[in-house]
Structures are given as C-alpha cells and as structure tokens.
C-alpha cells in the first residue's frame, strides 16, 4: 500500500516529464481509436453495400459448384419448385425477404458495338430491397416483370455507347443449348459505387429472362435478413434443421464466403491497423522506458535508503513497475476518452470526405465509429505495453548495491 502511494506520488513529482510521456501515450491511443473508428465505419459501409448490391446475407443453390460455374451454366443448378422453398425460408422470423435470381452471360449489341455482360434477373417488385444500394442514375428501374426492358450499369452503358431509350439486342444460350436473341429497351442506367460491378452487370425482370432462356426455375435464392448479425443463426438453422428434411438437395453459402472484394479490403485495412498499432506500441514502450530509466537514476539514493531500512528488492521492483503502469493506465484512459470524443465531434460535424478508394468510383463521407470493445482493448493495450516498458528500468533499480546506491550523487 505504501509502495503504491510512493509510486503514485512519484508520478506527480516530475510533472513535466510525466506530462510528456502521457502525451505520447495519449496521441498513440487516440490515433488507434480514431483510425479503428474509421475502418469500422468504412468496413461496415462496404459490408452493407456489398450485401445489398445483390449478394444478400445467404445464398442458396443446389450445389456448391454453382458458386463457381453458375453464371456460365445456370441450367445445371435449377431449384425445382423453388417457390415452396422460398415460402419455407420466408417463414423464419429473421428473414426479411427471399429473392429468386438467375444470372447468365449474354452479348449485348447496339448499332456497331457489342459487349459481354452478366445479366442479373430478379422480380422487379422486390428489386429495391436487395439492390437498394444500386442507384438508378438515369432513367428509371424496371417496373413490369415481363417487360422487354433492361437496366445497364454505368460502365456497360459507356462501353456500348447507349443512352436511355435506345434499343439493344440481347443474345444468349438457352437451356436447350440453342441461341436466342431479342430486342430490349434501355430504360435506366445504374451505379453501385463498385467499379467491378458497374463494368459488368445489366439487370432484367425475372419473367422476361425466364421466357428468354426457356426455363421455369431459378438456380439461386438470395436471402436477405433483417440484420447482418443474424447471418450465423439463420445459416445454422437452414443447414442443421431445414435442409436435412427438405426433399430438394440444397446448398447454402454465407455472404462473407462470397464477398471477395470485402474480404480483401478488410484484410488490407486490418493489416494497416496492426501496423499502426505496432508503431504506437513501440512509441509507448520507448516513452515509458525512457521516463522510467530517468526516474530510476534520479532516485538511486532513495532506493538505497529504502533498501537500508529493510525494503526487499521485490518491493523496489514493484514500486517502479507500478509507477510505469500508472502512467500507462492514465494515458490509456485519457487517450480512449479523447479518441471517442474526437470521433463524436467529427461525426457531429458530418464526417470527413474520403475520395474514391481503389476499385470504387464514388467517394463517401466517412463517419468514425470505433467499436465499443476498443475502449477496454486500448486501455489494456496501454496497460500491458507500459508494463513491458517498465520491466527493464524496474529490474535495473534492483541491481545497485546498497552502499553504492547511498554514495550515488
């Protein structure tokens, strides 16, 4: 107890030095907090936009191979009686909607130009649920499921050099293997924000596409949940309870198994965060180390005196460990408070404009929402790191012989 008292008061003894050390810890923890807030928000945004760009939370087909080959050969994976499967899934409370979908590759041609596109077809009445992040930037969405109409992504429209109102010819391979072609009207142009999607996709009504391909069924059901957090729960229900008793052979994939771009981006940002964290850890270790070494050498005589009075080496060690740890803890707590405060202020002022990240063609206003667990994570980080930084100085404090320490000037 007395040792803790001495440590605590020693922290306040050299105020300027303590303040400088605190400042370096605080700056470090603030930068980690703010940066993790930025990443958390951006990753949340990317996750939700990926899911709502057509991925859904869960995808159901008849075989795992569909997710590899499905767009080239949708006919091998058709779910028979998909409407009754849909009804069963819709009865799960966490499910918001189920969208039947068929995606096929087709050649689009207009005047002297043509382009290959992935045509995604789904019922026009629920399209805005699944594709709410696909903005129609020109014209309108498809309203009539049977209408011979098409919405082109921005990149595809540019490649073809078409505008709203133009007539395209769409050519594709039907279920039987024959080639089919039909004329469709471009009713709208869309943008998803993701360049790879905007350069590849076109959208049609489901009924029109089924007629064009001569199929009755779809190979894919996209399940959208009320919240992304329900993914595992519903997945487990489907895999463990529903599918085993279903007469249809079905296979379920979770969104994160399909979101390649999201996974890459997350990996990249997580690595970046680790690097920043490592830099902060090193800075804090050296700040504490430097301060504590100074503190030890400034108090050699005090150490000698305490030892002469019968204080054991372990208590001296503890005293300096505590001193470093107290600084680390205070720095950690203040750092987290300021970090969260700063995020709050930035969010209140409307966030910070971020130019388009790689692979995106639109910038966005980033908000900073550090996860709540980063409160104790960062405090523990500061705590552990300050313990590490104090080890050497504390050990050093026990190395003086008492007589030598008492002579020390």
């Amino acid at each position: 107890m007395i040792i803790f008292k001495i440590s605590l008061r020693s922290v306040l003894r050299n105020k300027r030095r303590t303040l400088i050390t605190l400042l370096s810890i605080i700056i470090g923890i603030v930068s980690i907090t703010v940066y993790s807030g930025f990443i958390t928000y951006s990753m949340w945004g990317l996750r939700e936009s990926t899911i709502r760009n057509g991925l859904g939370h869960l995808q159901i087909s008849t075989d795992e191979k569909f997710f590899l080959l499905g767009s080239f050969d949708p006919y091998s994976f058709l779910i028979k009686d998909y409407k009754s499967v849909m009804r069963k899934i819709m009865s799960i409370p966490e499910v918001k909607t189920v969208v039947p979908e068929i995606t096929f590759s087709a050649t689009l041609a207009c005047r002297e130009r043509s382009a290959i596109a992935m045509v995604k077809a789904f019922p026009s009445n629920i399209s805005s649920d699944v594709l709410s992040f696909r903005n129609i930037i020109e014209g309108r969405d498809i309203i009539e499921d049977t209408a011979r109409e098409i919405v082109l992504s921005r990149g595809v429209a540019e490649k073809l050099g078409v505008k709203v109102g133009d007539i395209l010819t769409i050519m594709g391979v039907t279920k039987g293997g024959g080639l089919n072609a039909m004329d469709v009207e471009v009713v709208g142009i869309s943008s998803s924000g993701l360049r790879e999607i905007d350069n590849m996709y076109a959208y049609m009504g489901l009924k029109a596409a089924k007629d064009f391909l001569f199929v009755q069924d779809v190979p894919l059901l996209v399940v959208l949940l009320e919240k992304t957090e329900y993914t595992d729960k519903v997945y487990n229900y489907l895999v463990n309870e529903m599918i085993p008793v279903s007469k249809e052979k079905l296979f379920v994939k979770k969104w994160n198994e399909l979101a390649d771009y999201y996974n890459q981006a997350k990996g990249f940002y997580d690595t970046l965060l680790s690097v920043i964290r490592l830099i902060v850890i090193l800075i804090v270790i050296f700040a504490i180390l430097n301060t504590m070494v100074m503190s030890v050498f400034e108090r050699v005589r005090e150490i000698g005196t305490m030892r002469a009075m019968g204080t054991k080496k372990s208590k001296i060690l503890l005293m300096f460990m505590l001193e470093g740890t107290i600084i680390g803890l205070i720095g950690g707590v203040i750092g987290v408070l300021i970090g969260f405060g700063l995020c709050y202020v930035i969010n209140m002022s409307g966030g910070i404009y971020i130019p388009p990240p790689p692979g995106m063609n639109e910038g966005y206003r980033a908000l900073f929402s550090p996860p709540l667990r980063s409160i104790w994570e960062n405090i523990i980080l500061a705590f552990v790191v300050s313990i590490i930084g104090s080890i050497y100085p504390a050990l050093r404090s026990t190395k003086f012989s008492i007589a030598e320490a008492l002579r020390y000037i």
């Binding site: 107890m1 007395i2 008292k5 001495i6 008061r9 020693s10 306040l12 003894r13 005589r301 005090e302 000698g304 005196t305 305490m306 030892r307 002469a308 009075m309 019968g310 204080t311 054991k312 080496k313 012989s401 008492i402 007589a403 008492l406 002579r407």
Partner: protein, 233 residues
C-alpha cells in the same frame, strides 16, 4: 554486553583497474547502549565501516557479528529483515523519501513489519513527540529545514526500537548550532532508550558527545580512546 564485534575485517574496492583497500584488518568491539563516534579524515574508511556494521555492505575478509548474529550467514532477504528490525540509519543528506510526509517517512519502516495500525500510530506519535517535530507531521521534506529533516530522519531511525542506530556524518550538512542540537537529541535518546548509537564525523567538536571515540586512519584503527568528559580534546 558486546553488540558489535568485527574480526579482521578487510574491505577492498575495485576502481577501474586498481584496487583500493578501504579497511585493513579492523578489530572492533562495541558495548550495548554506548554512544560511539568514529572519527577520521575523509577517505579513512568511516562510511565503509559503518556500512559493514549496518549490514548494507559486505567485508572482503573477516567476520562481523551484530547483536549475536554472524552477518555472513544471512541471505539478501534475511539481511533486509535484520536491518529493518535491528538497525536504524541516519544519513548525512537525511535521505527522506521526498514524496512522503514527515509522518509517513517515520511510519515507513513500521509498514515493512507486521503491526496493527493502532500500534503504528502510537509509536510514530511517541517518537515524533520525543524528537520535537510533532507539529511538522504533515509537511513534506522539501518544506522542512535541514535540522527539521534530520530530526525526521532520527525519528525514522528510532521508530522500530532498533538495537543500533548508525549515523554517517549526521551533522555534516547542518550549521554548527543545529548540529549540536541534533547531537544533543541523539545523546538524549541514547540515554532514554538505551539504544547504541554509532556515528561518524570529522569534526572534533562533535566527538565530545560520544562515550568512546574510534580514530580511523587509512583504513586502520589508530587509537581507541575512552572519552574523558573533562579532558579538552
């Protein structure tokens, strides 16, 4: 009864490549309850001898018995306990813990022992009273004068009821008048508590407070004078 006995104590320091013989075969016996002064010029080995008696330094050769204990038989942790219970230290530069108040400084050695809060309070207050600094209990060392600081240090040295108090040049950082007052206080406490005091000085005026003066020169005892109070030394 003998409270300190040294047998052929020799201490050699290494300073870079040379060796310095700080003590050469010192044989010393000190009776319990006495006030002993170790005199000698600087570099004569006074501090080294006090440190060895005080169990904070080891002799290179020879044996030291303090309070019937052979110090060479004790390990680090046992020595710490021994110092805490048997020995009190007073230093030239007072060496108070700057972040603790006078009261807390005096209480410190008791906190290293198992003792109830009530007993600690009783002892600290009694010794603060005896050393005349009760009114300074809540001051920090930097708020005290040199004489006041040394009184706190004396109180701290005596609070554990040690058998021996070792004081290395206790008056060297004080003016003459304050120094005399400190020695009078030490003498008074020596008489009252029967605690053995061993102090060093190079000031002949200070030595008159001692029952016995040990003259040290170049690491050897050159005489061992029974102090005659009437003799003008």
């Amino acid at each position: 009864m003998e409270i300190v006995k040294t047998e052929n104590v020799r201490k050699v320091y290494r300073l870079g490549k040379t060796y310095i013989e700080a003590l050469k075969r010192v044989n010393l016996r000190i009776e319990e309850g006495k006030m002993i002064c170790i005199m000698g010029p600087s570099g004569s080995g006074k501090s080294t001898l006090l440190h060895i008696i005080g169990a904070i330094d080891y002799p290179t050769e020879g044996k030291v018995f303090v309070y019937n204990t052979d110090l060479s038989n004790l390990d680090d942790s046992q020595l710490a306990e021994f110092r805490n219970k048997v020995i009190g230290f007073i230093f030239q530069a007072f060496n108070l813990i700057p972040v603790l108040t006078a009261y807390e400084n005096v209480e410190y050695p008791l906190l290293l022992q198992r003792m109830t809060r009530r007993e600690r309070k009783r002892r600290v207050e009694e010794i603060l009273e005896s050393t005349g600094i009760k009114h300074l209990a809540n001051q920090r060392p930097n708020e005290l004068s040199g004489g006041e600081r040394q009184r706190v240090a004396i109180a701290r040295a005596l609070v554990t009821n040690p058998k021996i108090v070792i004081a290395d040049e206790p008056t060297a950082n004080l003016d003459h008048k304050t120094g005399s007052m400190i020695l009078e206080l030490m003498k008074d406490l020596n008489t009252r508590y029967k605690t053995t005091f061993i102090f060093s000085t190079h000031d002949p005026l200070v030595s008159k407070y001692a029952d016995e003066v040990i003259q040290l020169m170049d690491g050897e005892i050159v005489n061992n004078i029974q102090e005659d109070k009437n003799d003008n030394f």
